[in-house]
């Protein structure tokens, strides 16, 4: 029994039951298949995390955001400037307590380089209702290439706890048809 020492002293020499052996092999091969699926997706899939990231001081990132706002703001929405960077260009989105700054407007089908960072605590970039979730760290700037393929109004929620106002931390991305 499992609560007594093995009845066979040389238990490591017991033959393995066929059912067990087959299951071990099947389970192992399934693991190998799942492992290579991840690698395969890097070559053939469209959704992969970028490996591009830089160390950055929070104030340096804030300066880049300000420069983008100064150059490309198209309108104001409440407290938020709405920024429309040129297609193919750089988009800077900053997490801070408690907002995603600024609002962004993108064109459908165009490709952008999205830069994400935080100037205070860790935040969770969560683009809804698409459900794209990326962790944002202070001191690290992550850069990825995105191509919006659907248009409309998308909410950005924070899904990393960042203090008592965490649930009020939101932002917005608009995707408009190509003009």
């Amino acid at each position: 029994m499992a609560i007594t020492p093995p009845s066979e002293r040389l238990w490591w020499k017991e033959p393995i039951h066929k059912v067990e052996l087959i299951w071990v092999i099947v389970a192992f091969l399934w693991g190998v298949a799942m492992f290579f699926t991840m690698i395969w997706w890097h070559g053939f899939g469209q959704q992969n995390m970028s490996n591009e990231a830089y160390r950055i001081q929070p104030y340096q990132f804030a300066e880049k955001v300000d420069a983008m706002i100064a150059a490309h703001t198209v309108r104001q929405e409440g407290a938020f400037p709405v920024v429309k960077p040129p297609p193919g260009g750089d988009v800077y989105l900053m997490g801070r307590v408690y907002m995603w700054w600024p609002m962004i407007e993108l064109e459908k089908g165009q490709t952008y380089r999205l830069h994400l960072s935080s100037i205070d605590l860790q935040h969770g970039f969560s683009l809804q209702p698409l459900n794209i979730n990326i962790q944002v760290h202070p001191g690290y700037e992550s850069v990825m290439t995105i191509t919006p393929t659907s248009s409309g109004e998308f909410g950005i929620v924070c899904n990393e706890y960042c203090g008592l106002g965490h649930h009020t931390m939101t932002g917005r991305i608009y995707v408009v048809e190509r003009t």
Binding site: S7, W12, V24, M144, R172
Partner: protein
Amino acid sequence: MTTTNGFRICPTTGLKVHGAAESLIKANAVVAVVFLLIGGLFGLSIALTRWPAVHLLPADWFYLALTAHGLDVLLVWIIFFEMAVLYFASAVLLNCRLAAPRWAWAQFGLMLVGAVMVNVAVLQGNSSVMFTSYPPLQASPWFYLGLILFAVGALIGCAVFFGTLVVAKDEKTYQGSVPLVTFGAVTAAIIAVFTLASGAIILIPTWLWSVGLVSNIDPLMYKLVWWGMGHSSQQINVSAHVAVWYAIGAMVLGAKPISEKVSRTAFLLYILFLQLASAHHLLVEPGVSSSWKIFNTSYAMYLAVLGSMIHGLTVPGSIEAAQRAKGFNKGMFEWLRKAPWGNPAFAGMFMSLVMFGFLGGISGVVMGTEQINLIMHNTLYVPGHFHATVVAGTTLAFMAITYLLVPLIFRRHVMFPKVAKLQPYVFAIGIAGISLFMMGAGTLGVPRRHWDITFADALTTFQFSPAAFLMLALNGLSAILAALGGAMYIVVVVASVFFGRRIGDTEKVQLGPATGTQAAAAVASYGSAGTLRIPGTVMLVGVFFVSFVLYYFVNWKYLAELWPLR
């Protein structure tokens, strides 16, 4: 009772039980249950706050309760109970005295002081930093110090466990190799040492940072090392509850492992590969390369998952073999239909096994796939997954074995047997609901650790789908059911331990249809590979495998619908 040199002979199992070991098992188990009660109440209040129609707690209390819930149930309840399991699997199962009982009491004292310190720090309101306490978010120094004391205590407990193994070997208290259950406990203890060392490496500097002696803690480095504790400690739980599954199978049904070699190799895979799990929390993080993520998140080609999948066959397989040997041979499932479903130890154990595999295991692998994590990271899917592993898996298994520990160690009859009989079902249905509905909400994008998904106070708003709100309401209802199951457990256990009818010194207890070591004789001894038939288990495992493969590829399909991203 024959008491010699602090030992008594258990009339049911014939094992020699050391008095000091018995007292320590009792003390650790009792404190564990107290913290289960506290943590469980916090948990219920969280689920009732998430339910938009109820929205019980204000925001600051919600985040406080969330921090305390994670600490009290994930850490305090489980690790205290694991200390009891370690002492049981070493001193009791090996007929041995407990090494260094005074050190074992130091374990108990330090862990208790640490647990109380953390709770007080959290309740003071300035340490609502969540279980994970990610910097730059900072808690009070007492929060980190409490965790450090708790970890040091647990480390001492592991040392006492290893010491007891040495004593048992030295004094030749058993023949041959240690029992499989003890082997599983060894696995848990080895992983625990790795885990607690990771905790010390990160929590000591973080504590110094909180008192102002260290200027900066890198948030990414913190996550990498902290999850060496945070996730690997869940692997202690897996090893411990798998050992508990085997123990209950053996004690209630006289089940014998199909093959010692395979089951032990599966435990060995845990030791070798489970430590890589820190990566599960860094899959959408900047500054970590894809090749690192793929190797680590898959435990080097899913070798630790392989270990769990092996136990998924061998645990029910050993039960089927034992039942068939007793004559339940009709068709594919007579052995399962006629299993002792009225025995809460067996019922809890089997539901723990099924839910850990189907809900916790599959969701864990899918969520831990490098790219798929993008559609799940930090959503409610994450707590949905780990409630299936840690609550449906570990907590339910620990509850189940309590029904055996009460008569064997506390030597009391279980009171309110009708309540005890229903308890695992009520708890299991509640937890299954909690897990499934949180996973459902997470699939719809609902964030975890979030007080208000209506964004009533936010500058801009976003409207989640009505289905998400429905999921949260169902989650609240399930939590009420689970809390009821938890309350039934606590009432039965506390009443039995303090007021249950005492079991006489020579009185044998009936743990299940076949109990005690004599039952082993009823089971065909392994080696006669040809006579062992387990078609029912093969069918169950087949259903599991097909569900796994389908669910895995469905999620790749979901991922493929996102905006292209690289």
